[in-house]
Symmetry: C2
Subunit: 331 residues, 2 copies
């Protein structure tokens, strides 16, 4: 049921049937190394370019989630990525013989796919929906920043795009964890135009969606055992805590950021932390959902954030529109 | 309810509350000139570049559909476009203060947005959903082909990207036309790698989705007063008729293509016809939906087609994955 304030309370809360996270070498050397389903050391995954490599990461996550589920199929795949025309998804899913709905929410894509998938399953439009996304450090640097071969200096606020993918299968029943609510984000643009400070651009969108969700659900931030932002990184996380504090929301105790969890910034030279669609997706599938399944968490709010600019819009002097989508899990 | 074969039969068929089509000068000189809500002669629509111009076309369509509807609001906007990172949508919808779900289905985007919007409304996740998309000839040529200033020759199979946008508001009740079924496409790739022959690449996807829809619904092609493909153009339309004939489906009497309807190829130098997300969207909103409302049509199947490649994948020698999404309307 639509609850107002951009928020859905699902009449038939979809259940998490399975999930799978695959990441690259650097991610596999980070603090979450023991939690991923698969660590793939070859960034090409046997292909001859990074774009096809990213498709292979996505494919591995989708096939992994399918193989871990009882039915091993889905009625719809809902996926997207950061590459122009979302080709990591288009080429990765080609050949899977499954209905496909492509989405684009930049780094908020995992939460957006869960919203669309949940709406389909809750509304009986699908029995099972597979939600997935991916990102790739090399492909993202090439497309959004500078060729890797150039060896450009990274600013302290820059984040490190995660090479990896996560996939979740939603179904009508089964599994210990379900999605009870979702809040879709509005576009927020506070005028930040520095494409090396995504956390700063996205933090206000995170707060906007968090506040809409709390207003619609009548909950406080303390209701949740944990609240996760997608990939604000260390810079954006601090801004988010301060913005929340200004609005009398206490995020000092139960708030974490997937971009901060992914790497050890002290030893891995990743500056402000991880980013990319694959960051929040792989942290969700390796760290958050298992903790819900084990009972360590009972209630979690997952808010993935995305920056909706392109290199063209940045070159045209535009500021960065940001968005955040929230999904509430319960076990 | 999910009916199998990629197909949803909506338990609560969403109603079309309003629709709006805005197109550019060349489209406004074509056969449908008297049917569009607005013809805008300035391709920049007052902005200083084509990308922002496209955002303005999208914004005009969304605001037009809202102003034509009784409630003048929507719970969610579902939109996407052809520009890298879907920036026509991101920047066009920024400032609208409405929850936004970005999608990407290349030229199939209008049908995909209607599928997602219908699932939200039918499943009570939204009271009203606004579905929209846009494309822009100049922005698409610059991004996918050659700079306009280069004055490159166009091949006979090349299509002309429509400058324009269409927007539809779906709601639980009201309006004479409703969406009864939707069939989401699978990715089809027959190995076509000529980016100047989109119709050839997309025709098999159109047939694949048409056949899935007919199998799931138990209908024949003759059940519909009219079947529309999105933008196969003259080349793709002929291929589609032949492919259908081979499978014993008769498309000789009630089948039209939005790309063929948009321009007069004899006088407008548009070669194989119109294309782009804005093509099927503006034909839907100006030609198809009014004919359903007037009773000229009672049952229509709208199948928008998309080619999911990017310039990078084409340069890497990849073939073109295609997809088609179908929506069934009844008045």
């Amino acid at each position: 049921m639509y609850q107002g304030n951009q928020t859905i309370c699902f009449d038939n809360p979809p259940h998490i049937l399975s999930h799978y996270a695959v990441v690259g070498k650097k991610e596999g050397e980070g603090p979450l190394r023991d939690l991923f389903d698969r660590i793939e050391n070859d960034p090409y995954m046997g292909e001859d370019n990074w774009e096809k490599g990213e498709s292979s990461f996505l494919k591995a996550a989708i096939e992994g989630a399918l193989s871990k589920s009882e039915t091993a199929n889905a009625d719809f795949i809902i996926a997207g990525d950061l590459l122009n025309q979302c080709t990591a998804s288009g080429y990765g899913i080609r050949g899977m013989n499954c209905a496909f709905l492509g989405i684009y929410g930049a780094c908020s894509t995992m939460a957006e796919s869960l919203i669309v998938g949940s709406a389909l399953v809750s509304g009986k439009s699908a029995r099972r929906a597979l939600c997935a996304t991916s990102s790739h450090f090399c492909g993202a640097e090439k497309q959004f920043r500078l060729p890797l071969e150039y060896g450009g200096q990274r600013t302290p606020t820059a984040q490190w795009t995660v090479t990896g993918s996560g996939a979740v299968i939603l179904g009508e029943d089964g599994g210990k964890v379900r999605i009870t609510h979702a809040t879709a984000g509005k576009i927020t643009d506070m005028g930040v135009s520095d494409a090396n400070n995504m956390g700063g651009a996205m933090a206000p969108a995170f707060i906007d969606t968090l506040e809409a969700h709390l207003a619609a659900s009548g909950r406080s931030a303390g209701y949740y055992d944990a609240i996760f932002s997608g990939d604000l990184g260390f810079v954006g996380k601090d801004i988010a805590i301060e913005l929340a504090h200004n609005d009398n929301i206490d995020l000092s105790r139960n708030y974490e950021d997937c971009g901060c969890l992914m790497f050890d910034s002290q030893t891995q030279d990743t500056h402000a932390g991880g980013s990319g669609c694959g960051c929040s997706a792989s942290v969700l599938c390796s760290y958050i959902l298992p903790r819900l399944e084990s009972g360590k968490y009972k209630k979690v709010l997952f808010i993935a954030t995305g920056a909706l600019m392109s290199p063209v819009s940045s070159m045209q002097g535009e500021s960065i529109p940001a968005i955040a989508h929230a999904v509430a899990f319960e076990s």
